[in-house]
Amino acid sequence: MRSVIRSFLRYLARRKSLSILQLLGIALGVAAAVGMMLASRSALESLGSAVDFLKGGTTHTIARPAGPMEETVLAGIMRDPAVRYFAPVIDRKVRLTGGQQIRMLGLDPFLDRNVRSITARIGASAGDGRTGEAFSSFLFDPGAVLVDENMARGLNLSAGSAIATLQGPLNVVHVFSNPSGEPLMIIDVGHAQKFFRMRGYVDRADLVVTDEEAFRQRWATGFTIESNTQKARNLSALLGAFKLNLEALSLFALFVGIFLIYNTAMFAVVSRRRDAGIFLAIGASRGQVAGAFLVEVLILGVAGGALGGVLGYFLSKFLVEIVGGTISTLYFFLRPSALPWSSWNLAGGVFLGSAASIVGSLPPLLELRRVRPVHVLRGRTATRGTSKRMRTIALFGTACLALALVLFGLSFLHAYVGFAGAFAFLLGASFFAGFVIIVATPGMKRLFSRVMGLAGRIAIGNIRENLGRTSVAVAAFMIALSMSIGLGSMIDSFRRSLVWWMDSQLRGDLYISTKADVNVPEELYEELKTVPGIGGIDVFRNVPITFRGRPASITSIDASVLERYDRFGWLEGGDGSWERVKRGDVIVSESFSRRFKVGTGSRITIETARGPAELLVAGVYYDYASEHGVVMMDRSVYLRLFRDRTINSLGIFIDEGNQDRAKIIEEVKRRARSFGLPFATREEFHGRILDIFDSTFAVTRSMRVLAVIVAFFGIAGALMTLFVERQKEFGVYRALGFTTGDVARMTVAESLGLGLISFLMSAVVGTVFALILIKVINLQSFNWTIFYHFTARPYVVTGLTALAASLAACAYPVWSVVRKYPVMQIREE
């Protein structure tokens, strides 16, 4: 037994390049899966620590359901026996003149020190003499701010530095440490009121409550009370769809990875059939041979898995940055730090690598047990009856596809069911690889013989002859290419849908500030109303709410302006709905409608500053602004229900054909500038949204790249095994009168043939996969309709990738054909 194993292992060493390729194949498969899983895990785990830092010792927060809270409420909170500590908070954003947005908290250092340590340590690092100076500046200098270390480092600030913002200058009196990583400024609450023009108001109070139930009872009407556990849950709920997406990507990575490992292991075994025959012929038992195979595959699996674990760890460091960036852009600030190195990464990699390897080697090993030594020794590498078997396998694939269909039908149960369906589909499609090769062979033969002559014809014949191996290679390559096409098509379709949506809903000529930006003072709105030539001003306000225990938001707009200038896309209702919105009804976004199962005519109850209010739904519109759902109402209704006059942004509309358009826009810009507010033209605004969109899909895109890399190694490994295994045949060809060039061309043709079949198959599978992503996965997790748009780009990109991979994969075999020709003989060694 030992000598059998030793001989097998010597083979590994002898075929160094092949072994390395196989090792890399396994390593990359493992790395993709481990990297993605680690990245999404660290992003989600850092959620808690991000919240913890600012939370300090508080247990609850109290705020108005929308907009700021009157500061007089604080005295009532102060007298409440269930409140141990309370601290007012103003939580806003400041735009630096450099364009950067920074979160700024207005705090009261006297009360805040009971719940948080930030203000308690003002000047602490500066030594005694400076402590008083810093504290007195903080209290008395209207522009004095504390700056967190991250921001200080990023902008090269220290105590004494000045910060220029659109809303006026600030100066740093102290730098504090901030483990959350979020750039942060702290200003005295009184100065914050002045700075943000919100005298008499705070955004919320952070509380330490001892008797939650009693407190909630006393503050039930007109206030939103949120415990910290709720807050964490809400944040997590905000990320729900995104989280799901990350999980899906990790699973896809795992799927591709396992497929690749399986593929590699299978080739490792198949390529050794002849050796197995020899051992059997010289008296080794089948068990010994199978054992030796297993040892070899395990060594590959363990080594590749371990390498993959390490690679995956480094990959996760890269991916976690992207994931954090996306969450920060879309939801709230999060700077996840990659999880520290743990030997579990290694263990997980080894487990994944060896388990997938063993699974991959099982079918050929089982086949090996039936092998007749004489048969393999005769040198025939192709197996008979494969075409029949391929049909059986295709039947199995059909069953998988049927299962996928059933799962899609049930996907309303849970998003995971949709995922399972997508996997079943990909798996099912992969079973058709052999069948497709058989079907495609005649056509391919004609094509290749026309282009490359006899060499091309023989090459395609070889693909057909070696079906057992080539079908696996095609399946793996095809899956990777399909993912690339599917993800690419989905992103392109989404992008197109987004452009359509922006063109229908964001038709203003100029936008002052944006939803996530600094607020617009009402004075500016009043002022702009007097500017002649402006057709309409939409006053936009968006506030997050909790509806039926889940996050959603309310958007208030000026219905008559939107009715006149916008062209909403309606699922239910139509432009006539605006009349009803003006009268006090609301319209809801598609995601709201799907998530909460409400439609035109439904009545929804929303917590307002006046207590619960019942509103009638007058329409459902397409929307990609928030996957959590939006309730849109006229500003007059909003003001009545929430008594919140905050304005997030203004949309300026000018009638078409107005001669003074440019002049009016200039005038509006001038006034916005005088208020220190940012603005953007329609094109700039749309461009910014598209930028955000693109950055959102950064993770998906990197997964696509990963899939392609994995595919490359898959196809390269498969091809090399095929060629190495059949090197002797090249000698035969040479003896038959083929030139070295012919043999090389044949090799290239075979590689290209495999690439072409894989690509053609992936074009179909990838398109269906895109449709699955759009119609099932996205609809289930984000609750919005994406319209499928055919774009050639994903196909071109993927086709070129397939071509490049095929050419690169055959480079080594061709080189080895040319180099080794003289020693390649027909004779047996």
């Binding site: 500061e71 007089t72 604080l74 005295a75 102060m78 007298r79 026996p81 141990r84 009261d108 006297f110 009360l111 020190r113 009971n114 005694d128 003499g129 400076r130 402590t131 008083g132 100076e133 504290f135 007195s136 209290l139 008395f140 209207p142 005295d188 609450v189 009184g190 009121q193 002045k194 005298r199 008499g200």
Partner: protein, 380 residues
Amino acid sequence: MTTRPALLLRALAGLIVLVLLWSLFAGLPRDLFGQGWRQAEATRQWSFPRDHGSHPEYRTEWWYFTGNLADSEGKRYGYQLTFFRYGLALEAQDPSSSWSVRDVYLAHFAITDASRGGFHWRDRASRKGPGLAGAATGTMDIHVLNWSARMKDDGRITLKAAQDGMELDLNLTPAKPPVLHGRQGLSRKGPRPGQASHYYSFTDLTARGTLRVPGMKDPVAVKGTSWFDQEFGSNQLSQEQAGWDWFALHLSDGRDLMIYYLRRKDGTFERESSGTLVERDGTSRHLALGDIETEVLSHWKSAKTAGRYPAAWRIRVPAAAIDVTVRPLVADQELVTTASTGITYWEGAVDGRGTSGEKEVSAEGYVELTGYAGSLGGKF
């Protein structure tokens, strides 16, 4: 009386003293510097209840309640509820904003639970804000968040404070008229002009109400006697002072005795250290340093702060035939006010026995000891 100004400054040490120190050196902002505040230099025309209210023209001011209480089972308690006002600026920068700072209000709250040997305290600080803290002028109406002291029209005072299982709800009725300390209420703290404060007390208040300490399910009804001090000034302290010992004692024959010793760093007492004796009928007389003899009988060392405090005294006022020995009800009545101010001092309920006018008397009251833990002296 020196105790309180120094204690106040000490109480603000964490933040404000340093602001002051800095402003002394840097001269900015102007308002923080002592200039502009009214000095306690001459006797004033007292008028009550107006003078129970705040005197914002002076930089520092405090309202100081201490008392010895007992419930129906005879279990004994002590309490301290103190409010401080400290002026950071002569005028608020932006009077239209409630947050614009003129004064900082601080408060200390402590309950001694003699039967269980417990001592509980909390402290806090706030600016005026939208009704968060303040002291009215013209009448006694002070609050720091939800701790308050308010005098009603009939002259009775209501104290309310609650936090973390501690609760105090007392009605105080003056049994004697206000007592002016020093000369006409001008209490000298040192040799230099302006080193003084305006200082008066209700030395004998009948207290009734309820009290709760952590671990008690419901508040218990209590009654007893209380002592109230109010003092205000702007610049009383001398640099050489190390700390002070303050005694406020009720004798069972109806006499009340207040003594303060201002300890200098060189180990001697400040010459202005003195006291006041209040007779049963409310008449009072000033006691000079030489009129009082005090002997420390034992010490107690704090495990928390390593401060070593006197823990039993024999006090004699020969001219009044007073000779009493008092000891703390609970050894550890040390406050470490890290939550707001960072100062450490001992302030606790005491009791004892002795003679007054040749008659056997019992005594109870409060003692305050500062400058025993940490380096108080250098800073003032």
